[in-house]
């Protein structure tokens, strides 16, 4: 009995950590989709790039963890803004197939580039000493880094939501997601708004990729292998929603951890099956608008 209980705690804990990473990475994808009508398959590449930049700064130049993470986020935001202005914006609200092909192409380019620069091996993720080892939470001990991850994720999510509720930018994003035409008529500069949202989403992805490097290891095929997960979180959450993906990330993170704990040999099969069933009931996702 105690065994089962402890397993449940453990699955919940690791599931929560995974959920945080998935949410941080996917929320930007959901907003780009809802706001600009753009299917950005390469979104995961921003997360991957975040992970690469961070681990590289840490291992090559001994930059401390926090600073390396910040550097990675800034780097990815810059790259994403350039790409947005040069490529993405041409395709907003345009042909789905073009978006899919263009972003698939970007994934391939990213894969090749990181292999060229950093080699084909998985990047080592060594959390700082303070965050490694185990932490005793009274009733039992947990891996320190993942505990940190969960706390960190929770803080970031709260900040993000507060920002969207309280700031002018947040109000504009919500208005535009709700009704783009209306937002334009009341004088919101949508082009700037799109760029800012895109940068924010990519930055969050980089943050998720860096923080989560220990759960989703930084390898060359990261953007392709985890693509399904990011897409599931967005689709199950409901396109354009900001809280929906959070619920979906929790669902995916925890159930995926549970399934892999119970029947590891089936890999991700059950999470896929669950997704299909969920979408059968809610074709627009859990929090999708009708």
């Amino acid at each position: 009995m105690a065994d089962i209980f402890s397993s449940i705690i453990s699955v919940g804990f690791h599931g929560l950590a995974l959920a945080m990473v998935l949410y941080l990475i996917s929320v930007g994808l959901s907003v780009t989709m809802g706001l600009m009508g753009f299917i950005n398959l390469a979104h995961g590449a921003f997360a991957m790039l975040g992970g690469y930049l961070m681990t590289w700064l840490m291992s090559r130049y001994d930059v401390p963890f926090g600073l390396a993470l910040a550097g990675a986020v800034i780097g990815v935001v810059l790259i994403s803004v350039i790409l947005e202005r040069l490529l993405y914006r041409r395709f907003y609200g345009g042909d789905e197939l073009d978006q899919v092909l263009m972003t698939m192409g970007l994934i391939f380019i990213t894969i090749a580039s990181v292999t060229y620069i950093w080699g084909p091996v998985t990047q080592p993720m060594r959390p700082p000493a303070a965050l490694s080892g185990q932490i005793d939470l009274g009733f039992r001990s947990f891996p320190t880094y993942r505990t940190f991850l969960i706390v960190c994720g929770a803080i970031l999510v709260t900040l993000l939501w507060l920002a969207l509720e309280r700031t002018r930018f947040g109000a504009q994003v919500r208005a535009a997601v709700d009704n783009l035409r209306m937002a334009q008529t009341i004088g919101i500069n949508t082009s700037r708004l799109f760029a800012a949202t895109f940068a924010l989403g990519s930055g969050l992805a980089a943050l998720g990729g860096g923080l989560g490097a220990e759960i989703l290891p930084i390898t060359t095929f990261y953007a392709l292998e985890n693509l399904v997960y990011f897409l599931i979180v967005v689709a199950v959450g409901g396109l354009g929603s900001i809280r929906g993906p959070f619920v979906a990330a929790l669902l995916v993170g925890i159930s995926d951890t549970a399934f892999k704990y119970i029947a590891p040999e089936f890999g991700a099969f059950f999470i896929y099956a669950l997704t299909m069933v969920l979408l059968l009931w809610f074709p627009r996702g859990l929090f999708g608008r009708t």
Binding site: L101, G105, L224, G267
Partner: protein, 333 residues
Amino acid sequence: MSHLTPSADRRAADIAAFSRRHRFHWFEALPWLIAVAAYFMFPNYLALGSQILAIILFALSVDLVLGYAGIVTLGHAAFFGVGAYTAGILAANGWGEPISGLLAAAVAAACIGLASGWIILRTTGLTLLMQTLVVAAMLYELANKAYRFTGGADGLQGMSVWPIFGTFRFDMFGNTAYFYCLVVLFFGWLVVRNTVNSSFGRSLTGIRENVGRMHAIGAPVAQRRLVVYALSAALAGIAGALTAQTAQFVGLNVLNLERSGTILVMLIIGGIGRLYGAFIGVPLYMIAQDRFAEADPTYWYFWIGLAMVFIVVFLRGGIFGVVERLLARSRKQ
């Protein structure tokens, strides 16, 4: 009125031209002539040749859903793989008759297509795309797990494919395999060609061009899309079965994302929704891959990625699209 009603002659001419559009043109014979010529010119590359022919069929099946019905899929490997495993498992378990193997593959793939399409096609955009991915990934996990039947990660071994019609043995030089693939591709092409020229096919084009209007003229859009999805799945299944039978081996890679993704690349290189894009894009891609990819897969990915972005930004419609535009321009002058 400024617009006069044309004469009865003009009417007859217009209607005749319109109703003859599906007739064969001389240039449609070209791919087949080239395929036969290639057999004599490159006898050492017949294995690659058969693979190309089978993949052209796969690309045709994708073109049907993507280019004609406008369903963006990243999971068509699901059907290719189901077909490959169906034919492969049959041949490894004592039923090596190739033609019935193809048919079994088609039926199995069509069933999966119907079942998954029924769920998937209710959604649109990102959700639909994700589900196509998920279906393929599920089958991948299943095939991986069911190693007793599929050989799992080691691949399916011990296939024994019988001679075609009990006469034409699959020889080690790949002569039989080449013509087998060519003939099957030919029939597959006839089916696809006939479908896209039928009223059904034209209504698919209508769905791609403007779904809203198709609804507004009373078309059962969902049903049409499901039918074409299943038909396309069947063809993809046959393509997979062809690959399995000629290679006498099935690996897990028949089901992976790379296969679903690269087939799109091949198709856009040639041109989507044109029926002939597959005949240009697939050989180009596969020959280039054969020459360059082995040497350096990293560069290969880079150039493919760059090509995709380039085509989408500058070369809309692929090679065929560019040729068409050039022809149109020269005609105007």
